[in-house]
């Protein structure tokens, strides 16, 4: 189990990067956070990227195999979906989901996007 201070620092860094308007923070979160071996870090990162609610950040968690809604961990995937459903303005997320359903080469990613899109349409 990681030290409480380390967990707090990582949480603050990820949340801070999520709030930082600089577009480069998306690549930082994608490179460092979504590729982490710790589920909790991937979960926090995916949620921070969803909260940004801009096309580039949403693409990372929707259109990528093994990240966000397509994460191998059910907890991470469900948490990302939950964050997407909590968005006030879902229009950008819906566009990315539609695009993923139509254009992504991976069938599993397409199926996931279709399911989440249906959920978002219902919510």
């Amino acid at each position: 189990m990681a030290d409480k201070k380390i967990i707090k620092d990582v949480t603050n860094v990820i949340e801070g990067l999520g709030l930082n308007p600089n577009p480069e923070t998306i690549s930082i979160l994608e490179d460092v956070g979504t590729n982490s071996k710790v589920d909790a870090i991937r979960e926090m990162t995916a949620r921070a990227l969803v909260k940004k609610n801009i096309p580039d950040s949403l693409k990372v968690v929707i259109d990528n195999k093994g990240k966000g809604i397509n994460d191998m961990s059910t907890v991470v995937a469900m948490s990302t979906i939950n964050e997407l459903l909590s968005l006030q303005d879902k229009s950008e997320a819906m566009k990315i989901l539609e695009n993923t359903v139509e254009n992504n080469s991976d069938e599993e990613v397409r199926d996931n996007a279709r399911s989440v899109k249906a959920l978002m349409a219902l919510s």
Binding site: K8, E24, G33, S36
Partner: protein, 171 residues
């Protein structure tokens, strides 16, 4: 050591014939309590608490000692409260001094521009520090606000990499 079980105490108190013996009283008896205590009878067994206890051990059954212990605990709380109060008073004094300094600075006209600039920046720094919560000052960790305002993305990337690596290493 006396047997202090409830049945034995009851037995000793109420079955007096077994544990007491009648003593012969004569007119030149000098004990002033003899007439009133147990009607002239002498207890042959110690039905009360033994006095041969080790005095070094804390006996929590004694009301006096228990109250002393509670008193000492309350005293600790009071001392902590006093410490906190004095720390608060100290903080307020510093804050008042800064506010007074700030007011003086605004009232006094400083003709030398760089000196004025320096003084203003110094007071702004102190004010900013006072605005930070005590927990933040003590822990001196990374705050969400500081990362959210970061402009240097190289430093931000390095910070995220380092902190995440620390967590991953501890798993």
């Amino acid at each position: 050591m006396a047997n202090l079980s409830i049945p034995s105490i009851r037995e000793r108190l109420f079955n007096t014939s077994k544990h007491e013996k009648t003593t012969q009283r004569n007119s030149n008896n000098t004990n002033p309590f003899a007439a009133s205590s147990f009607k002239g009878n002498v207890l042959t067994a110690d039905v009360f608490e033994s006095s041969n206890k080790n005095n070094n051990q804390i006996n929590f059954t004694g009301k006096l000692k228990a109250s002393a212990l509670v008193g000492s605990i309350s005293g600790i709380g009071e001392r902590f409260r006093n410490m906190i109060e004095s720390a608060k008073a100290f903080g307020n004094r510093i804050k008042d001094n800064v506010v007074n300094g700030w007011n003086k600075l605004n009232n006094i006209e400083i003709s030398f521009a760089p000196a004025k600039e320096k003084a203003v920046s110094m007071f702004n720094t102190v004010k900013e520090t006072l605005g930070t919560s005590v927990t933040d000052l003590i822990s001196s960790g990374i705050s969400v606000k500081s990362v959210a305002k970061m402009d240097d993305m190289t430093a931000a990337r390095q910070l995220a990499t380092d902190k995440i690596a620390l967590w991953e290493a501890s798993v």
